[in-house]
């Protein structure tokens, strides 16, 4: 097995683990704000690692660029989406946990 294959595999597995951790946060954290804290961030790192890992694994530059584009788009979407949800929740008068 080649070195790139191993590195790619490790990155991909790590990325999937991050996604699982994000879901854990989504399920276990007490309110919407804390969940927003946990899940999108973990997901972004996870997806980034998966994209990078798959790019390394495949060894194709064009594919890697496309994967990076996917990740960037998702980064923007998730970040803005999380912010919007938080803002909307605040406006609806949902109190953060512990306050």
């Amino acid at each position: 097995m080649s070195l790139t294959g191993v590195i790619g595999g490790i990155l991909t597995v790590g990325g999937v683990l991050f996604l699982l951790l994000g879901t854990l946060g989504l399920l276990r954290f007490p309110d919407v704000y804390t969940r927003l804290h946990a899940q999108p961030k973990a997901d972004n790192i996870g997806l980034g690692m998966i994209c990078l890992g798959l790019g390394v694994y495949s060894g194709s530059l064009s594919l890697t660029l496309k994967l990076l584009l996917v990740w960037l788009l998702m980064l923007v979407a998730t970040a803005v989406g999380a912010g919007l949800i938080a803002r909307a929740a605040l406006r609806r008068g949902i109190r953060p946990w512990g306050l």
């Binding site: 097995m1 294959g5 790619g8 595999g9 991909t12 597995v13 990325g15 999937v16 996604l19 699982l20 994000g22 879901t23 989504l26 399920l27 919407v32 969940r35 927003l36 899940q39 999108p40 997901d43 996870g46 997806l47 998966i50 994209c51 798959l54 694994y57 495949s58 594919l63 496309k66 994967l67 584009l69 996917v70 990740w71 788009l73 998702m74 923007v76 979407a77 998730t78 803005v80 989406g81 999380a82 919007l84 949800i85 803002r87 909307a88 929740a89 406006r91 609806r92 949902i94």
Partner: protein
């Protein structure tokens, strides 16, 4: 490696199934929407894994489309479904 990817796909699919619990429980609409967002990420990851596994570039395009459109649902949600606007009584969109 080709043995590893299907397992990862199964894990991600299970991730979605577990996340469905949040859609079920809520309690607020924001929680449900957040969970739905998470599904897009997992679906993209699955599509990418499959793309590399089966050597199909079309699946990368699919992931691209998912990524582009994932913002649409959230933006619609905060602007339309959960906007808390007083509707209809002010007749704002009657000509």
């Amino acid at each position: 490696m080709t043995d590893l990817f299907p397992l990862l796909m199964i894990l991600l699919m299970l991730n979605i199934v577990v996340g469905l619990m949040r859609v079920l429980r809520g309690p607020t609409a924001a929680d449900r929407m957040l969970a739905a967002e998470m599904f897009a990420t997992s679906a993209i990851a699955i599509a990418l894994l499959l793309a590399v596994l089966t050597q199909r570039e079309a699946l990368v395009d699919l992931a691209l489309v998912f990524a582009l459109l994932s913002a649409l649902a959230v933006v619609t949600f905060v602007n339309r479904a959960w906007s808390g606007r007083v509707r209809s009584s002010d007749g704002e969109d009657r000509p």
